[in-house]
């Protein structure tokens, strides 16, 4: 179960869907590909039902392109917009109950370690802001306290987008939404800072407006989670459907927020993770 993840059994060549054949012939498994190679290989995500101009879809596409070893990765998803896309993703994935994603991932990582002691298996949680900061905060924090070796990625669209626009913990103070007509009364939760204090070895807040940096951040987070400890990546991806802007303005909105200072790209690296990354990236440069 590594490079041969996508294989067609003899006799089935003609009946397999065209997308699967493309994945076998030109997929990223067993090749060293990254975000900058996008467009030159068959991606691990197929046509998904997310809205036109959805920056969470763009973030998901970039995350999947930057997985260091997609054939040995298991993604744990949770309810939300992102879960609608996971049926089109060609990486092992589990849909957990709403909010349970980090508990499921922690158990899975331990089980995989026992089952495959001589192999590295990455467990990556990809969930929305509702699952991470509101409903599943307990499980998320406990997994960090226990120093589980998993990567938690939050797609932060600042709203419960697929249920009609309720306010989430990540919405900004005063934000008026379809189901929050009076505006939100308390500020956005500073989860990157909480994660740093809760014991994450590597924490980053990033957006798909910087695709190459996003790829680098995700790769670093997964590699640090293998060796050092829990990691957390928060990806800001505003929702054109709920915030009522044109689909082609998604990336401009991110840049505008960055200019206003309401969203900052930031990275916290613990000393152990710093030493590990310096060794790893130094070795890459020598090659």
């Amino acid at each position: 179960m590594s490079e041969g993840l996508f294989r067609i059994s003899p006799g089935f060549e003609e009946v397999m869907p065209a997308e699967y054949k493309e994945l076998v012939a030109d997929g990223p498994c067993g090749r060293e590909v990254g975000v900058s190679d996008l467009g030159a290989f068959k991606e691990l995500i197929e046509e998904h039902p997310l809205c036109a101009g959805c920056s969470a879809a763009l973030a998901l596409r970039l995350i999947l392109a930057s997985l260091p070893k997609p054939e040995d990765t298991v993604i744990v998803g949770s309810t939300g917009c992102s879960s609608l896309a996971f049926t089109q993703v060609a990486v092992h994935n589990i849909h957990s109950l709403f909010g349970n994603q980090n508990a499921v991932a922690a158990g899975l990582k331990r089980a995989l370690r026992l089952r495959f002691p001589d192999k590295v298996k990455d467990v990556v949680v990809i969930a929305g802001d509702g699952a991470t900061v509101d409903i599943g905060l307990d499980m998320v924090m406990q997994s960090w306290f226990r120093r589980e070796h998993i990567t938690t990625i939050m797609l932060d669209n600042e709203v419960y987008a697929n249920t009609g626009g309720q306010e989430s913990g990540m919405s900004l103070r005063g934000m008026v939404l379809h189901m929050a007509p009076l505006g939100k009364r308390f500020p956005k939760v500073a989860l990157p800072e909480i994660a740093r204090e809760a014991g994450c070895a590597y924490v980053a807040a990033i957006s798909p407006a910087q695709p190459k940096r996003l790829g680098r951040v995700v790769r670093r987070a997964i590699l640090v989670a293998r060796e050092v400890g829990p990691t957390y990546v928060q990806i800001f991806c505003p929702c054109p459907t709920n915030f009522k802007f044109r689909p082609d303005e998604s990336l401009q909105k991110i840049k505008q927020r960055q200019k206003e200072g309401a969203f900052q790209v930031r990275e916290y690296v613990s000393p152990e993770a710093q030493a590990f990354l310096a060794e790893l990236e130094g070795a890459d440069h020598e090659e």
């Binding site: 068959k42 991606e43 920056s55 596409r61 695709p211 303005e249 998604s250 990336l251």
Partner: protein, 64 residues
Amino acid sequence: MYAAAKIELEKCIGCKLCILSCPEPNVLLYLPETKQVSVNQQRCKGCGLCVVICPKDALSVSSI
């Protein structure tokens, strides 16, 4: 009515910015032979993010 992106190949310089801004997978493909980008209109949702980011105005969204 369906909308999709269209590319004017004489303007494309192959910078790949559009590929990195598209939320849809496998729509914009990079052709290494010509060092240019091609659009798979069947898979495009016509959001226009590639049009906004293209520095050479090589892309446009129109109905198909």
